[in-house]
């Protein structure tokens, strides 16, 4: 992939428009849900209390909005990156967007008028036995998840079709020519973003099958056709689906980095044998760690618990050894062009590894015994999300709007990116500290002894809000011109 080739070409204008809407809709949702997160931290700090009923509804909406929001923003970025080399259907992307918006609206309706507050993990039987909301609200929330899953199907199927067509078959789209013939030169091997798009699409489709295996019995239960769904089964199913979905967003946004960092490093990121091996292995490895969420369900078969532990460790190999090391190698001695996009991408690389350490520690079974469902858990996934996926997605939105509008970044944008990093790191460090002090997660009210941590985190949270407001403002200012540019085409 030529790192100097412009993103907009003669044919991908419509796809770029769809991609921009994915990024803006996804990150816009993230921003709104982020404000809800600020509210939760203020409540935890004892600064601004909300009723438990509202706290848990906010908590539910926060998670249910963030995870798909980050995933779809990342899909938008990946579609834009891949569209320079493969013919994507803008129609499919818009259909996917309609399905995603429908799903999100249903969830909002379940939570706001419906008082649904089962958490984004919607762990059966809580959605049907909440006591402060009706069974109908649970059904509406699950219906929202179903529409979101359908949206994922449409986007993944469309991406997969595009990459396999562009490469002349699934084998080339998965870079098997490199994987199985490492010594033979492959000058036209699939570029990393195309390979990654193929991998994440396959994972996404398989993941939705799991999601349906969770949702369908529950719809039948609500309709009265099934009396009871086994609690261990539903826990395994929802966590396999949910963990994979959150994990997937990291990989999708990483694909965006593979396509964008080279532009600032002025070096191509090639599909070498480690890259081909890492990304092909992810198709399997991503499905192994889920049982680390079930370590404290002692009735879970021991074999699955061990799989959860080893599977979690295994995920560190492709992520760190190939992608993170690869990113650092790409920029080392490269004469890197510093811009808000570069800074955010490198912050994301940092956060992915740091969050990974926190996660892998918690994936050790005896450690999990004293960390599970404490604030350590939100700590590690907020690191992955804020200083990982979100950083990558914001970087790309910033990059794309700047490139299309022809705007040059000024020093304030770079400062804002660094401040975002500082704010995010401070926020998650206090989460980790809370977890180390056994503060439980998902509590509407924190004991006085715990409130100090959240209070101390508030300045860092505020820093993130200010930084994002600045970067978001720059993006919005360029959006009109960037949009119009996609209609004009390359000059």
């Amino acid at each position: 992939m030529d790192p100097n080739a412009p993103t907009l070409n003669a044919t991908n204008g419509p796809v770029l428009r769809a991609a921009i809407v994915y990024l803006v809709a996804g990150l816009g949702t993230v921003a709104v849900m982020g404000l809800l997160g600020v509210l939760m931290r203020l409540d935890h700090g004892g600064v601004l209390m909300v009723s438990p009923d509202w706290f848990y509804r906010i908590m539910t909406l926060h998670g249910a909005g963030m995870i798909p929001g980050l995933l779809f923003a990342s899909f938008g970025g990946l579609a834009a990156v891949v569209s320079t080399e493969a013919r994507l259907s803008s129609r499919a992307l818009w259909v996917g967007l309609v399905l995603y918006l429908t799903g999100m609206m249903l969830v909002v309706f379940a939570v706001v008028p419906g008082r649904f507050a089962a958490g984004w993990t919607v762990l059966d039987p809580l959605p049907y036995e909440g006591k402060t909301w009706t069974l109908s609200a649970g059904v509406v929330a699950y219906a929202g998840y179903l529409f979101t899953a359908l949206a994922i199907v449409v986007v993944c199927a469309s991406l997969l079709r595009a990459t396999t067509t562009a490469c002349g078959g699934a084998r080339r789209a998965l870079a098997w020519d490199v994987l199985f013939h490492p010594r033979r030169p492959s000058p036209d091997a699939a570029h990393p973003p195309v390979l990654i798009a193929t991998v994440v699409s396959i994972v996404g489709l398989l993941m939705v099958v799991v999601g349906l295996a969770y949702l369908v019995p529950l719809f039948l239960e609500a309709a009265g056709a099934v009396r009871h769904v086994d609690a261990l089964y539903s826990k395994n199913a929802v966590l396999l689906f949910g963990h994979t979905m959150a994990n997937l967003s990291v990989y999708v946004s990483a694909g965006v980095v593979y396509g964008t960092l080279p532009r600032y490093a002025h070096r191509p990121w090639k599909t070498t044998w480690p890259v081909a091996l890492a990304w092909n292995s992810i198709i399997l490895l991503i499905f192994f760690p889920w049982s680390h969420h079930l370590y404290e369900d002692f009735v879970q078969p021991l074999g699955l618990q061990i799989l959860g532990n080893l599977g979690s460790f295994a995920g560190g190999f492709p992520s760190f050894i190939v992608t993170i090391v690869g990113a650092l190698a790409l920029v080392y001695g490269a004469g890197l062009e510093w811009s808000p996009a570069t800074i955010l991408m490198l912050l994301g690389i940092w956060g992915w590894a740091f969050g990974g350490v926190g996660a892998l520690l918690d994936a050790i079974v005896p450690v999990n015994q004293v960390m599970h469902n404490t604030m350590w858990v939100p700590a590690h996934f907020h690191t992955y999300n804020m200083v990982g996926v979100a950083a990558f997605a914001w970087a790309y939105l910033y990059h794309l709007t700047s490139e299309l509008s022809g705007a040059r970044h000024r020093w304030m944008g770079r400062w804002a990116a660094w401040l975002y990093g500082i704010g995010a790191v401070g926020t998650v460090l206090f989460f980790f500290l809370e977890g180390a002090h056994s503060v439980p997660r998902r509590y509407a009210i924190h004991d006085a002894a715990w409130q100090g941590y959240a209070r101390a985190a508030i300045p860092f949270v505020a820093l993130m809000v200010v930084a994002l407001a600045w970067l978001g403002g720059e993006v919005l200012a360029r959006l009109g011109r960037a949009w119009r540019r996609t209609h004009v085409g390359p000059v």
Partner: protein, 179 residues
């Protein structure tokens, strides 16, 4: 790893130590991101680094996993390392209270908690008097999870719900006396 419980603060310090080391490496690369060398020149070093990391990860993860097995919290592991339970507490979780068959247990001997739920998933978490989480297990409807623990010191321990279960999840608290 202590079979009776890992110290969470130790985990925090390990995170900080590894995190600091990583930050130094990352920062060093960023400081050297100016023009310096060709991409091709770094390739052999990167290859060697990857091979080293692969082996280091494999060995470290393997060793950690092997060491962790001793401290697995499941019934067959803890009853082997701590001994067969001497006393049993039946725990029934429901929205939003704990129903315990006993509220006092002896110290220094293995005690079993047979935990189940009447409605949704809950989580039994036992906190020491100083506020530290010692051990936990999920309370699932239709299943009984058996948790074995040996209390090292007497006092009033707090039981909290650690699996989100609805609007009063955060006040689903009970006390346990260890004597």
């Amino acid at each position: 790893m202590n079979p009776n419980g890992v110290n969470p603060l130790a985990v925090w310090w390990i995170l900080l130590a590894l995190g600091a080391a990583w930050t130094v490496v990352w920062g060093w690369v960023l400081l050297h991101a100016g023009p310096g060398c060709s991409y091709e020149a770094t390739a052999p070093t990167v290859r060697r680094l990857r091979r080293i990391l692969f082996v280091v990860f494999l060995v470290t993860f393997g060793a950690v996993f092997a060491a962790s097995l001793r401290a697995y919290p499941y019934f067959r592991f803890r009853s082997r390392s701590l001994g067969s339970p001497v006393a049993t507490v039946q725990v029934q979780a429901s929205q939003w209270s704990w129903d315990l068959s006993k509220t006092a247990v002896p110290m220094g001997v293995p005690v079993e908690f047979a935990v189940t739920s009447q409605d949704v998933n809950h989580g039994l978490a036992i906190y020491a008097p100083d506020g530290r989480l010692l051990t936990q297990v999920q309370a699932m409807p239709g299943y009984t999870n058996r948790l074995v623990y040996r209390f090292a010191a007497p006092g009033t321990y707090t039981l909290r719900c650690l699996e989100y279960c609805g609007v009063f999840h955060h006040i689903m608290v009970a006390t346990l006396t260890v004597q």
